[in-house]
Symmetry: C2
Subunit: 428 residues, 2 copies
């Protein structure tokens, strides 16, 4: 029997507890050990009682769990940085294996955690930190290990994918779709971590670190959220053959790493275009395997519990075989980061411009003089003073585009540069 302490029995914690109960025999048959939660750290005793966790199972404090040498694995589901970080480090130092779903912790303190796990000879599982129940960290580290990874593109935030799906299907405004997501429990009361892209940024920092064997932290990720998108852009995008998604992208560009989160148009036929609602997917390109994609529910109680229990079973197998403590920090390289303005991308640009002859020529002239080559122009003449002008560029340097837009922004014929969205996922 493998004895486990559960830190926190909120949504995911109670899911883990229930899954270990309901599939107890199957889990034992598959990994050779019964996995049993013997101690729970949870202040809300009523919540614990609802799961059938009596007072005798509740720990007074973390020190009690730490001191109990029977406990082999600590499952950290408190979330946030502290006290989670301290608990995890202390558990490792006491020789306990750790499983966590805490993306904040890994994206910020990953190196410290892996180094400590390695030094202490304990296992450290964190599959649940990215993509909920979707197996992605494990396959990337194992099944795809023979590949030099070129690119990881993820839809890794269910809240924003739900909002964008609503906006696309029903033409709703962002604020309306957000409210709907909040009512359904898909978005928090304070949705900023999701809609500003920081949740996705944490996840792509973790995936990039694994894919490229080089530590990428949250502050190295360029981040743009989805709050600036309007249903109008989604409609124009559709006319151009695109679907909008909040993408988390990590690329190896001639040895440098470029990691970013931003809304992007992708071709309607791209496998990621069909990933809708709260579903997540991670699309990986490797030099041997080509393109592979992992798809599923990126959040939620039982999908996340599935990932946590998968990690627990891996640890149980190790204990069963006397082969624990295989964690090593896989970031054995130190790759330089490429700043986003050095990136070459295609851009969709929507502007409100004076509707009179010569305007397009003037605008095209500004782009041309900044080496920004235009691929497509959609001009919606309105018969009014201003018209919507939609452009799609060829691949251009981001810095050139920014310079051109700065000039255009100062011109009297340009009332507003409403929206700039990168185009991704096309073959070059």
């Amino acid at each position: 029997m493998v004895k486990v302490a559960l830190l926190g029995c909120g949504t995911v914690g109670s899911g883990v507890f229930r899954l270990l109960e309901s599939n107890r025999d199957l889990i034992a048959a598959r990994c050779g050990e019964i996995i049993s939660v013997v101690r729970v750290l949870e202040r809300d005793t009523a919540r614990a009682a609802r799961l059938g966790i009596g007072p005798e199972m509740l720990a007074a404090d973390f020190a009690e769990i730490l001191a109990d040498d029977d406990i082999q694995v600590v499952v950290e589901l408190i979330g946030g940085i502290e006290p989670a970080r301290t608990f995890v480090l202390q558990a490792m130092e006491r020789g306990k294996h750790v499983v966590t779903a805490n993306k904040d912790l890994i994206a910020v303190h990953g190196r410290e955690l892996f180094d400590t796990a390695e030094a202490c000879g304990v296992d450290f599982g964190f599959e649940a930190s990215v993509g909920g129940g979707i197996p992605v960290i494990y396959p990337l580290k194992h099944s795809l290990a023979g590949n030099r990874i070129k690119e990881v593109i993820g839809i890794v935030n269910g809240t924003t994918n739900y909002i964008l799906t609503r906006m696309t299907r029903e033409g709703s405004e962002f604020s309306h779709a957000l409210r709907e997501a909040q009512e359904l429990g898909y978005a928090e009361a304070d949705p900023s971590a999701d809609v500003e892209g920081y949740d996705a940024a944490r996840k792509i920092a973790i995936l990039a670190s694994i894919a490229f064997n080089s530590r990428v932290t949250l502050d190295q990720v360029y981040v743009e959220g989805i709050t600036g998108l309007s249903p109008l852009d989604i409609v124009y995008g559709r006319d151009l053959g695109y679907v909008v998604k909040l993408l988390a992208i990590a690329q190896d560009i001639e040895g440098q790493l470029q990691v970013r989160v931003h809304p992007a148009f992708i071709p309607q036929a791209h496998p990621l275009a069909a990933v809708e609602d709260v579903y997540n997917a991670v699309f990986i390109t490797g030099d041997a395997v080509g393109e592979v994609m992992f798809y599923g529910r990126g959040a939620g109680q039982m999908p996340t519990a599935s990932a946590v229990v998968g990690d627990l079973m891996e640890i149980a197998r190790g204990i069963h075989r006397g082969a624990s403590g295989a964690t090593t920090c896989t970031c054995f390289e130190q790759r330089e980061m490429m700043p986003v303005d050095r990136l070459a991308s295609k851009f969709y640009i929507r502007m409100l411009v004076k509707d009179r002859p010569g305007v397009l020529a003037a605008i095209a002239g500004v782009f041309g003089s900044h080496q920004v080559s235009i691929a497509t122009v959609l001009q919606k003449t309105s018969g009014e003073e201003f018209a919507q002008l939609v452009l799609v560029t060829h691949y251009v340097a981001e810095s050139d585009l920014r310079d051109a837009l700065a000039v255009l922004d100062g011109m009297s014929i340009v009332a507003d540069i409403c929206c700039v969205v990168r185009v991704e996922g096309e073959r070059r």
Copy 2:
């Protein structure tokens, strides 16, 4: 260093050899050991020479490899049953780990191979036997291990998926699309194993055995190929909101297993509907994780090599940590198989019928008296003697449908029952 013998350097074998060369340092850094091919069994010395394999590396026969105690791993890429089976068993008995891409071998002799691996304390990797480079066996056994699996639905044959994609996009006849696939090297000169569904049947037998922990062999899989489909059915299916795919399905139906391969209509919005050309995907439903899908290239030299090398690296990690020999047969249950005629499905049926009043009533009457309830009727009146009648049923017992069709087949108003296709992937 982990020393490997390669049996066969055809397409996949040379891919494995090249991948181990080109990513040698990265592979070593990731798994702790240099993986080195030290011996090759290949009759075609010119082919070996093209890879830079000189005569000194070529083994005269398998006995030479077997006798060499320095060789820790044998990679079997000969294909077919014999001599592959004998070589694999002998290698295991000499304490050598084995990696194979051989689905025929596993689908037929799986139990013998796993039992031998376990008895000999060696590792046995076979990720490449299903889905080419797509990680599916490993995630199913590890990441998703906490789930009771309810269903596995795969598009696991690239040749037929390519043919069906052509037929759907261009309205080509089967024979034309097959010829195109042959010209592109996607189909063999004798395409029967692919188009009759037997390749997919082998793969779903393997996946079902893992997902349900109960051995499923090829002869237990109900198989229908795609040769009976016409472009007309694809067009009618599209009008009804469906896409046609050759599906390999394994289900847990109240404790019994139902495993089958047949063409099926799936809703256009189903994630599998977007899997086109030679791409493969495996869609898995677990009780905790919900729906997950793995997508990628299901065949081809380098994708398959990616899977083989992933398995090799797992073995190298085990050797490095002194923790080899973890293979156990995971089929610890013995589940009953449910015959296909006990299955309840929705069916698409296309018939050629006399175009005169009362015919529909007569046909509907036959279905009704056999408990076959009709959901949708499309009648294409032609002004000629015969008309196309397309029906979609509600969920009905397969045996009831067959009885009804047998009666209809004997009626003078029915000229032909042209096509019967199951409808899958809808929520019930």
